[in-house]
Every structure is written in structure tokens, then in C-alpha cells.
């Protein structure tokens, strides 16, 4: 076989693989959307779910998903970025650093159901919080921090060394250099990591089953006092998320429209992640332009 033919075949194989991926993705999306979109209506999004009756919505689940995403990101991003800064800029190469890195990678590869069980033990039972949003957010934090640390470390390491030198040579301190020169340059990478983590958080069910539970108390959307029992912002209440809801209605739902609810909720979940990604990238672009004065 001559090398030209081999080259053509390689191109063909890769195009074929790409086509398979694209058709799989399209099939999956169209299946979810075709089944789900007809179900989605204003009522579906704004009505509370019902355990037995037909026509329940997903209002609380949708809110819970976004709220848990928000709380988790508030915890995960600062800790993860701090860890990444430490590993990239402060940790001395050696056994201890390698050990830390191994631990972080192990943590990232833990099955989420195991994290959920651990969360049940630690954040539900030991703390006495019961099923709570904060417990769920902490469980999600546990396996998303490694991703954030890793992504931040890589993003910082990919900032050209001459940027750091320039800043140090002007007499700025190491911390000021990291804060004002390195982090802004690493921002796009960190943002991508955050978006990836968000997708995982938003779609996660297993780790939340045992930490935020399968129910949502009666919520009063006019009460925004985070310490009130019925406030949607209360961190110490159980909260069924969208992904958990899909799992729950599919496995033991007794309402007559189980299939429709599952299909509609799946479509909303996928669309929410999509919208969130687009929004995050859009906002990220604006922040990046502010930081770098780049008008691309």
C-alpha cells in the first residue's frame, strides 16, 4: 500500500468517525427534543409537580437545579482556583506535591454514587442537617473540585512565562502578579473548566439522591429570606433537582403522565445546560475583553 493511499484512508476513517459522532449526537438530541418539546409549556415550567395527579409541572425542580448549581459553583470555583494556583505557582516539585496530585486525580475518578453515600454519612447524618441543599452542594463540590484544580493549574501553566517575568521585573510581588497578570490571562481556560463542571453539576443525579433527597417542601416564591422555612433560598431544606426528578418519576412515579413528565423534564434539562453554556461563554467573552482590551 503506498503512502498516498494510506493518507487518503486515514482521512476517510477520521471523517467517518466524526460522522458517526455527529449522527449519534443529532439522533440523541432530536429524540429528547421531539419527545420533550411538545410537553413543555408555560404551565409545565411554572406549576409544582404532583405525586399522583396528571399535569404536574417541574417548577421547583428547575429552580432547585439552578440553585444547587449556583451554590456548588460558589464553593467549588474559589477553592478549585486556589488549589490550581497553589499547584502551579507555589507547590515545590517533589513527593508531597505528587501525592497531592494523585489524591486529586483519585477524587476526580470516584463514582458519583460513592460520593453520594459518603455525603449521606458526612453531610446528612454526621452534621444532622438531614437532606439539604448545602449537603448536596458539598457532595457535588467533592468531585468537581479536582476538575477545577486541574483545569486552573493547566490554564495557569499555559500563560507564557514572559508575562510573569515582565510583571516581576517591574517590581510587583508574586501575589500581585498572579492576581493581576496571570489569572486574567488564564481566565478563558478557567471559564471553560467552570462550564464543564457546571454541566456535570446540573445533570448529576446519583450524588444528590442521598444528599438532597427526593422531595421538595412547599415553597413560597415570595419569601426570599434565606432563613425562612418555606423560602426557596433556604440552604437547609431538601430539594429534588431536575435530574433526580427524571430518575424518580421513571423508577417509581405513579402519576398517569410519567412518560410525558420524564420526556419534558429531560428536554428542559438539556436545553438549560445549553442555555447556561451559551450565557456563560457570552458573559466570559465580555469579561475577557474588559481584562485584555482585546476587541475580537
Amino acid at each position: 500500500m503506498n503512502s498516498k493511499l494510506a493518507d487518503k484512508m486515514a482521512t476517510g476513517v477520521f471523517v467517518l468517525i466524526a460522522l458517526i459522532f455527529i449522527s449519534l449526537l443529532t439522533a440523541l438530541f432530536s429524540y429528547i427534543l421531539m419527545r420533550g418539546l411538545p410537553v413543555i409549556s408555560w404551565d409545565f415550567l411554572t406549576e409544582a409537580s404532583s405525586v399522583v395527579r396528571e399535569g404536574g409541572g417541574i417548577r421547583d425542580q428547575l429552580f432547585n437545579s439552578f440553585y444547587i448549581l449556583f451554590v456548588t459553583l460558589v464553593i467549588t470555583v474559589p477553592l478549585g482556583v486556589a488549589g490550581g494556583i497553589y499547584l502551579a505557582e507555589y507547590a515545590k516539585p517533589g513527593k508531597i506535591t505528587n501525592f497531592i496530585r494523585t489524591c486529586i486525580e483519585m477524587l476526580a475518578s470516584l463514582p458519583s454514587i460513592v460520593v453520594g453515600m459518603f455525603g449521606l454519612l458526612l453531610f446528612v447524618n454526621l452534621t444532622g442537617w438531614g437532606y439539604s441543599i448545602i449537603g448536596g452542594a458539598l457532595a457535588l463540590t467533592m468531585f468537581n473540585i479536582p476538575v477545577m484544580v486541574r483545569v486552573t493549574e493547566d490554564a495557569i501553566r499555559s500563560v507564557p512565562a514572559d508575562q510573569k517575568q515582565a510583571s516581576l521585573a517591574l517590581g510587583m510581588t508574586k501575589w500581585h502578579t498572579i492576581k493581576t497578570v496571570i489569572l486574567p490571562s488564564a481566565f478563558p481556560g478557567i471559564l471553560t473548566g467552570t462550564i464543564l463542571a457546571s454541566g456535570r453539576i446540573f445533570g448529576e443525579a446519583a450524588a444528590l439522591l442521598f444528599t438532597v433527597g427526593l422531595s421538595t417542601p412547599e415553597l413560597d416564591y415570595t419569601n426570599w429570606n434565606p432563613f425562612a422555612e418555606t423560602s426557596p433560598l433556604n440552604l437547609f431544606r431538601p430539594a429534588e433537582t431536575l435530574a433526580v426528578h427524571i430518575w424518580a418519576v421513571n423508577t417509581n412515579g405513579i402519576m398517569p403522565d410519567v412518560t410525558e413528565i420524564a420526556a419534558g423534564a429531560s428536554a428542559v434539562l438539556v436545553l438549560s445546560i445549553l442555555l447556561f453554556n451559551l450565557l456563560a461563554r457570552f458573559v466570559g467573552k465580555i469579561i475577557e475583553q474588559k481584562l485584555t482590551a482585546n476587541k475580537k
Binding site: K92, P160, D162, Q163, K164, Q165, A166, S167, L168, A169, L170, G171, M172, T173, H176, T180, V181, P184, S185, L291, T292, A293, N294, K295
Partner: protein, 268 residues
């Protein structure tokens, strides 16, 4: 003056000749087992340009980077000997390196402006030193850009990205950024080797102008550049200074045969 947080012990002994600003004494710099600079004693005169020449790997860049302690960021770097700057030993453990680097600025081989606007490239370090008033910042930014002969080219687009400038303009921006710190000494590490001949000529012209107010030490691979702009030249080879003297003297009448071989292009 270096205003360190920790007070510096200024040596009262060893009076300096009035015209010298930096002196290295038996300076040895090593990276682990490798000795990069071996027993170098050099004296740099105030408001003069000294060129450091020599083949790649001869230790001239390491030497230059030791003067503002930029080698500190390489963990294996070790110093012996003294670098005396205005009666202060810069290798002293108690030196506040940030104050030192403010006073002894550095410009690198590859233009390395920050990924910020032209304005903020200069204002950035000023803000760190607590100059926050917009009027004062505007003034200092303009002043530094004028000194670096860049003002006329960028005055209408100060808030564009520094990356929108050409390589030569970027390098002058880096010089402007250093000048904004009001340094006494400027270290230039092959500042125009990555630039085209026209940009190079502009940088050289600028360096000669800056001599009036600053002491300049420049590492260069370009011997024409050394002979065009410098007052004194030091020739480095394998970590040693083979010859140091007035530039004309060194290029026309080198004393050492290695110097002659190098400047006539026989190696390096």
C-alpha cells in the same frame, strides 16, 4: 534609593569611585552543579551604556539577570560574591527585591507586553505602587510613552490591546513601562534581536537618548549594535570576562586573542 521594608545595611567601607553605580565583585552564579558566571568583577559607570557580548551560553544573560535578582525565580540558582549598587549589596538576604526591581528595570529579548491595553501596560505597575488618581496616571503614562518615543504613534489608541502594536512598538512599550517606574538602571537583554532592522534602529536611537538619564547595561549578540551604541564593552566567554574596556578600544585594538577572534567572527 532602595526603600526596603527591612532596612538595608549600607556598607560604609569600600568607597566607590563617584562615577560608578554598580560593581560586581568576584560574582559566581551557578545552577546546581553548573557554573554559569565564574568570578566576574565588573564596574558600571553612571549614565553610560555598557554592552555585554559573547557567544551563546557564555553567561552574559545570567549575569545581567542577577543584577535585578531575576534569577531568583530559578530555584537552583546560587550566588557567591557581591553586587554593590549605591553601597548596598544586592545579594543581601534582606534586600526587598520588589523595590530593587523598581529601581533597576529590565527589558527582555522578546517583547512581552501584558495582555492589557496600551494604557494599562504602563498604568498597571503604577497602580501597584499606589498611584490611583486618574489625572496623575494619565500624566505618567504620557510621560513614559514620550520618553520611549512611542506617544505619537499610540496617543489615539491608548485603550487598544497592546498586542495590536507591531513588534518594535511593543518593545518600546515595554521600555516605556520600565521607564514609568523611574529606574536608575535599565537592563536590556538583547532588546532588538527579535525585531526587523528599522525597528531595531529606532530602539538603538532610543537607547542612546536614554543614556542621559539612566545607566544602561545591554546584552547583545549583534556586534555592530554594541559598537554603535555602547561606551564600554565586556566580552564574556565560558562564564569569565575575558576583556572589558572602552568600546572603541575593545573593537579596534583588542588585547586578548579570544576577543579578537570573536569580534572578527571566527567563532560564536
Amino acid at each position: 534609593m532602595i526603600t526596603a521594608e527591612k532596612p538595608l545595611q549600607r556598607k560604609q567601607s569600600d568607597p566607590q569611585p563617584a562615577s560608578s553605580i554598580i560593581e560586581t565583585r568576584h560574582l559566581i552564579i551557578s545552577y546546581g552543579p553548573t557554573v554559569a558566571v565564574d568570578n566576574v568583577s565588573l564596574l558600571f559607570r553612571k549614565n553610560s551604556i555598557t554592552a555585554l557580548i559573547g557567544p551563546s551560553g557564555c553567561g552574559k544573560s545570567t549575569f545581567l539577570r542577577s543584577i535585578n535578582r531575576m534569577n531568583d525565580i530559578i530555584p537552583s540558582a546560587r550566588y557567591e560574591g557581591d553586587i554593590i549598587y549605591e553601597d548596598v549589596n544586592l545579594l543581601d538576604k534582606n534586600i526587598d527585591v520588589t523595590a530593587l526591581r523598581k529601581e533597576i528595570g529590565m527589558v527582555f529579548q522578546k517583547p512581552n507586553p501584558f495582555a492589557k491595553s496600551i494604557y494599562n501596560n504602563i498604568a498597571h505597575a503604577l497602580k501597584f505602587y499606589n498611584i490611583k488618581k486618574k489625572k496623575k496616571l494619565d500624566e505618567l503614562v504620557e510621560d513614559s510613552l514620550r520618553k520611549a518615543a512611542l506617544w505619537d504613534e499610540v496617543k489615539d489608541r491608548l485603550h487598544d490591546s497592546a498586542y495590536s502594536l507591531s513588534g518594535g512598538q511593543q518593545q518600546r512599550l515595554c521600555i516605556a513601562r520600565t521607564l514609568a517606574m523611574k529606574p536608575n538602571v535599565i537592563l536590556l537583554d538583547e532588546p532588538s534581536s527579535a525585531l526587523d532592522p528599522i525597528a531595531n534602529a529606532k530602539i538603538e536611537e532610543l537607547i542612546i537618548q536614554l543614556k542621559k538619564h539612566y545607566t544602561i547595561i545591554i546584552v547583545t549578540h549583534n556586534m555592530q549594535q554594541a559598537s554603535r551604541i555602547s561606551d564600554e564593552t565586556a566580552f564574556f566567554l565560558n562564564g569569565h570576562v575575558i576583556e572589558h574596556g572602552e568600546t572603541n578600544q575593545l573593537f579596534m585594538n583588542p588585547v586578548q586573542k579570544e576577543t579578537e577572534a570573536y569580534i572578527s567572527g571566527k567563532f560564536g
